[in-house]
Symmetry: C2
Subunit: 212 residues, 2 copies
């Protein structure tokens, strides 16, 4: 197997990143099953895409996947892990200590992939001072200094819609480089800060389209 | 404006459905702002895609969006609403009455788009009998008859990974046509039942890719 060339990452589109995430999960499962190689056909079937799509997506890694031999499971998984930034750990803080925050705080896939929550914030005096698995919920007024002091890189927003932009601005002032927004409203971030929005209704829309 | 031809829905791909969801939200916002028409350029900018992608996606609706006049906001929104199955209401049940379930139960976008939760289930005796906004959490042993009696069409799964397939099977026996799975494991459903998986870590992976 040839050493893959450095990846021209600007060529990797957002949908392509999502497919890499899917391949990464399939490859993790294949590792667990003791498989050494996987064909584009088998990888495609388990990731829910076409074999041609797999070959196209993985062509960015250079000379992986020779005809007849398939892709090397462990090496390919490591490559994708590195591309996705999952070969390191990320420091996160969460603003809005409600039910969704509880669910995210307990979500085992986050720490398993290197995403760790180091600070919690809320504006509700009834929540400030609560201890979640050893971590104290702090006042949102303390967000900027705490985020700075604890070198938080990613801010999670699970506040009501009305508070989301203010909290987002505080995260930006605190120096985060990325925001994951669960509040159902459009947020604005300055250049240099990455924003992703999770809209839980979109998945239901895809389902209702299929059921209609 | 010509009357759009019936949509050949088999031509609508999954990513295309997701973009229709995004356009649907932008068009809703534009309605609220009192706009009558929108250019493919403006729609693209607000939905985060290219104008060419907008024109291609919306070409399925026939003769919308003549050069120089733009798309009619209200009519196009109604068309997309109908395509996505959002012009009717959907009956849902939720299994796994934990924090994520609480968050989904309180998620205002669901009822706003016609998605209503009519039953809640858990296997924990401490949760069975709880009342959530007037709805009683029932034993998962009652899932099949309750789902049948209340004509539930969509099952939401927020159980731990280990319980998810069993609950999924119960939903299928109860006659649901669609499953939205939040548990971090792959589920199997028989033909004729649609499955969508929400993986909250995938959004973080997209973010870590961008930040790396």
């Amino acid at each position: 197997m040839a050493v893959p060339e450095p990846l021209p990452e600007s060529r990797v589109s957002e949908p392509s990143v999502r497919r890499l995430s899917a391949y990464y999960r399939v490859l993790g499962a294949l590792c667990g099953e003791g498989e050494n190689t996987v064909s584009s056909y088998a990888l495609a079937r388990r990731a829910g895409v076409t074999p041609a799509q797999v070959r196209k997506d993985l062509s960015i890694f250079g000379h992986f996947g020779k005809r007849g031999t398939g892709y090397p499971v462990i090496t390919l998984r490591q490559e994708i892990q590195s591309i996705l930034g999952l070969d390191r750990s990320w420091r996160m803080a969460l603003a809005g200590a409600g039910n969704l925050a509880h669910a995210l705080f307990a979500y085992k896939e986050f720490p398993a992939e290197g995403f760790h929550i180091h600070a919690l914030f809320d504006s509700d005096p009834a929540k400030i001072g609560q201890t979640w698995n050893g971590l104290v919920v702090e006042s949102v007024e303390r967000l900027v200094p705490v985020v700075r002091e604890t070198s938080v890189e990613i801010g999670l927003i699970t506040t009501p819609a009305a508070a989301a932009q203010d909290v987002c601005d505080l995260f930006v002032r605190g120096g985060v480089r990325g925001i994951l927004n669960f509040a159902p409203r459009k947020l604005f971030v300055p250049e240099g800060v990455s924003l992703r929005n999770v809209n839980l209704a979109i998945e239901l829309e895809s389902l209702s389209f299929a059921l209609k």
